[in-house]
């Protein structure tokens, strides 16, 4: 069975579709003849231009969800489209908060499993997916068996987004079937947290801290260095688990994937959990007192030293340069 049609779950960002949406559309074009998008919200029509430019011929517009979390209604609308005979061969879903909800709900509705943490796709008779294992030292290739669309949940930055120069996608209003009790969770208020610098997953420089910082208060050094380098501050899972910094800062397997020009790992040992989220960075600088730390196996510049000495000196030096 060749791959004829692929759907991409499209998410809206601050201005147009999110970067990962465009990455998935680009990859979808290279594995399938027809690419279609599924989107929700009250601004879908305004996304049609960019979605079309990146290769979608059609966008199924689930519309405004009335405060419901997207997982249930969007999956229900997709399953209804499929049951009406409009099934794609594969569905590409970004590994985001809402994307994973949609994937889980859809999986049960279609009685199909989900392949998650996908970082590559291989087109053949059927579509195979590639997954990093053990922090990326190995690559697992997997595929779906049996009939029905394959649901792939794909990590951001797995593919480069490239415009296809296409015209706007046709917007097709897509109703949400009644979903009963499962659709009862409602958003009552949205809180936007102020961010002074660039987004963690879009920054050209990322400075991350780990357990080697010793205590939560020392994370201020990471934030200060990030600010001086006009970058974003990240964290290892260890200090997120310890409650030093919020989950939104976490880089790694269970957190964000980053691929900045420069990644500075401070007091991070480099557990596989962390490496998988940052080893795609263009340049890696590691500062750690343990010479045997695995982070040095991926570092372009490794400083075997005490972060409590190197970081303040580095901050002073950068300030002196103005």
């Amino acid at each position: 069975m060749a791959i004829d049609k692929v759907w991409v779950l499209a998410e809206a960002g601050d201005a147009g579709p999110t970067p990962v949406t465009l990455e998935l559309l680009t990859e979808a074009r290279s594995v399938a003849g027809t690419v279609e998008a599924v989107a929700w919200g009250d601004q879908t029509a305004s996304l049609a231009g960019a979605l079309g430019e990146y290769g979608a011929t059609t966008v199924y517009d689930v519309g405004d969800l009335g405060g419901a979390l997207p997982g249930v209604p969007v999956a229900a609308a997709m399953a209804a489209l499929i049951s009406r005979g409009n099934a794609p061969d594969a569905i590409l879903i970004p590994a985001t908060y809402d994307g994973r909800d949609v994937a889980g709900r859809l999986s049960v509705k279609l009685d199909r499993p989900v392949l998650t943490n996908v970082t590559g796709l291989v087109a053949g008779d059927s579509l195979s997916s590639q997954h990093p294992l053990f922090g990326g030292s190995h690559t697992v290739t997997a595929k779906f068996t049996g009939a029905g669309p394959g649901i792939f949940v794909i990590r951001a930055k797995s593919f480069a987004a490239e415009s296809a120069g296409g015209g706007a996608a046709a917007v097709v209003a897509t109703p949400v079937p009644e979903s009963g009790a499962s659709n009862a969770a409602k958003i009552v208020e949205r809180h936007v947290e102020e961010r002074s610098g660039p987004k963690l997953d879009e920054a050209a420089v990322v400075v991350s801290g780990g357990r080697g910082l010793g205590e939560a208060a020392n994370y201020a050094l990471i934030e200060e260095l990030a600010k001086l380098l006009k970058g974003a501050a990240g964290a290892s899972r260890a200090i997120v688990d310890a409650g030093w910094v919020p989950y939104s800062h976490q880089v790694g397997q269970t957190g964000k994937t980053v691929k900045p020009t420069v990644y500075v790992a401070c007091g991070i040992s480099g557990a596989t959990q962390h490496l998988v989220g940052m080893k795609g960075s263009k340049n890696i600088i590691a500062i750690n007192k343990d010479q045997e730390a695995p982070i040095f196996t991926v570092a372009d510049l490794g400083i075997v030293g005490d972060v409590h000495k190197v970081l303040p000196a580095l901050i002073e030096a950068l300030k002196a340069k103005g």
Partner: protein
């Protein structure tokens, strides 16, 4: 109020992980421990179930009747546990596992089901929502905080921009991220008490599930290849002699970042 916490018993992440070359699945022999990620769900549930008559039940699926990880959660204060252990479950994918857990959870008749956002070993991150869909329940994932508000839960849910306040009637499935509460260490008394807390052992047949729907037989996905990835070579590693910061500055200048 009855709260169920799903607990995964996994090989110690500190021990080297390995794949079974015959099946390409993770080797799960040896002692299993409670997934670190589940500490937060157990702690959250214990804090929410503070009233008289409130109970916390652990639900876990593991091979070989394994309970060592469950005992950790029981020692923290959970009242009892349901363990699904059955040779037919070997090789289950997340959807198959969700079917088994959903059936087992229903036995505890919970008002609230708490799970980790994702496990530390398999980390598919879809299982909690699959369980919710199978049970016909609403779900709120990536909770930073959970409060009981009458017959609803009020959840602060992580978003890209910040967080959403979500209100959800119970019963419901809520997943918590790590670090949202500080898990207690089991006391000596708790560890001793855990040894005699009830663990209900159930099989796939007990749950009324057809064995062909689960395990490797029921899985709709297969691994076709495992290969070594191209490794990233390491560069210059130097011991700080007081010049570490200057070396970093020089490297950043060379990259034209500063």
């Amino acid at each position: 109020m009855n709260i169920v916490v799903c607990v995964k018993q996994i090989p110690d992440p500190a021990a080297p992980a390995a794949l079974d070359p015959a099946t390409n699945t993770l080797v799960r022999t040896g002692k299993l421990i409670m997934d670190d990620s589940d500490n937060y769900g157990v702690e959250m549930a214990l804090q929410l179930a503070g009233g008289d008559g409130d109970t916390v039940t652990l639900v876990s699926m593991a091979p070989g009747g394994e309970t060592s990880g469950l005992r950790t959660g029981l020692a923290m204060g959970a009242a009892n546990a349901i363990l699904i252990s059955d040779d037919a479950l070997a090789g289950s994918d997340a959807l198959g596992t969700a079917k088994v857990l959903a059936a087992a959870i229903a036995r505890a008749n919970p008002d609230l089901i708490v799970m980790a956002t994702e496990s530390s070993d398999g980390y598919t991150g879809t299982l909690p929502v699959q369980v919710a869909e199978l049970m016909g329940l609403p779900s709120v994932t990536f909770a930073k905080s959970i409060a009981i508000d009458g017959s609803s839960v009020r959840v602060e849910r992580q978003t890209e921009a910040g967080f959403d306040e979500v209100v959800c009637p119970m019963p419901a499935v809520v997943t918590v991220t790590a670090g949202v509460v500080e898990p207690r260490y089991p006391s000596f008394k708790g560890i001793m008490a855990a040894k005699s807390k009830p663990v209900d052992n159930v099989t796939v047949a007990d749950l009324g599930i057809d064995a062909s729907q689960v395990g490797a037989a029921g899985s709709g996905q297969e691994i076709t290849d495992v290969s070594e990835a191209e490794s990233r070579g390491s560069g210059e590693i130097v011991v700080d002699e007081g010049d570490g910061a200057q070396r970093v500055v020089a490297f950043l200048e060379q990259l034209k970042v500063i």
